[in-house]
Symmetry: C2
Subunit: 190 residues, 2 copies
């Protein structure tokens, strides 16, 4: 049971974002910008960064949700499985291996990101902006994972929830659902 | 030297917020809301939470900046020193001891926040909203600390910088400086 009173039909982050809408708005805006804004990283690549960080932080809600989103975007569920096992042998580009490694180091703590890890990324043609966004996305998920688990939010009763959520994140992004999408909200909440 | 090209006269977080203004805006908005928005926690108490988390994450820039801000707000620099040594014997209220403890646990990882730690806070009359905000502020500083150190941002050349920054945070908040405050920016950058 969550440590604070949240709407019981809204698991994980969704209940927290409804609990305090004023703080939720900039969190949504930041996520929307980093994940769906202009970038030379694909949306799938950005979801892989969220996935590997949430997995390392052992945040079940975030890991499952972003794995589902990444899988929907790549169309190949084996990739998320591979990066969780071993980034270096996963079927992703050399640049993504280097960026996922930076994300893992950022998760452990800012000082863990070494000049060598950055050099490997730059040698694989990662730009400053891609390195910046990787560190910031990893840092953002260190926020999300702590927010979700620090308040002991509930997991969805039905695992099918994650696929509905992933469809929503992929097709509608991280901002609030506009009017007219209440059916999606209701489906997600079941 | 920072891992990406930042304006050399802007140390720590300040250079990052200028580097990517679009992602900076929601980060500023979230911080402004949590630190200067309506709350039953004083501004000083909220700065103490930022201080203890940054200290635990060994982020020198954030620790020094928020220590200076807390000191300016409390008017007693011994309090930040005390909480760094031992929260339980520090000269803060029982509620703040419990909330600072929750912040420390959140910093270590969301799953570290125990039902017992929450019970202690509730027994000391902490509200759900205060517990929520404590976890979110701690999580936000896990983002900031990783962002600042993960990209190896520079420290200010002059330690007096932190007092100027603290004055700015206390009197002008976390939003961008309005037109007409360029002198403050220049002073901070020296």
């Amino acid at each position: 049971m969550p440590y604070i009173e949240l709407e019981s039909h809204l698991p994980g982050i969704t209940g927290l974002l409804e609990y305090r809408k004023d703080s939720a708005q900039p969190i949504r805006d930041l996520t929307q910008y980093l994940f769906r804004g202009p970038s030379t990283l694909t949306e799938a690549e950005r979801e892989l960064i969220a996935t590997i960080v949430s997995y390392g932080n052992e945040c079940k809600f975030c890991t499952t949700a972003h794995t589902a989103a990444a899988d929907l975007l790549t169309g190949d569920a084996s990739i998320t499985e591979q990066i969780k096992q071993d980034i270096q042998t996963a079927q992703v580009s050399g640049k993504m291996k280097a960026l996922l490694n930076i994300a893992v180091l950022t998760r452990k703590g800012g000082k863990n990101v070494t000049a060598e890890a950055i050099e490997v990324a730059k040698a694989a043609n990662a730009t400053d902006l891609e390195i910046h966004d990787t560190v910031l996305i990893a840092a953002l998920f260190c926020l999300y994972n702590r927010y979700v688990d620090g308040l002991a939010t509930a997991l969805p009763a039905d695992a099918g929830y994650y696929n509905v959520l992933a469809e929503r994140l992929v097709n509608h992004g991280y901002t609030r659902l506009p009017q007219g999408y209440d059916h999606l909200k209701k489906t997600a909440a079941q």
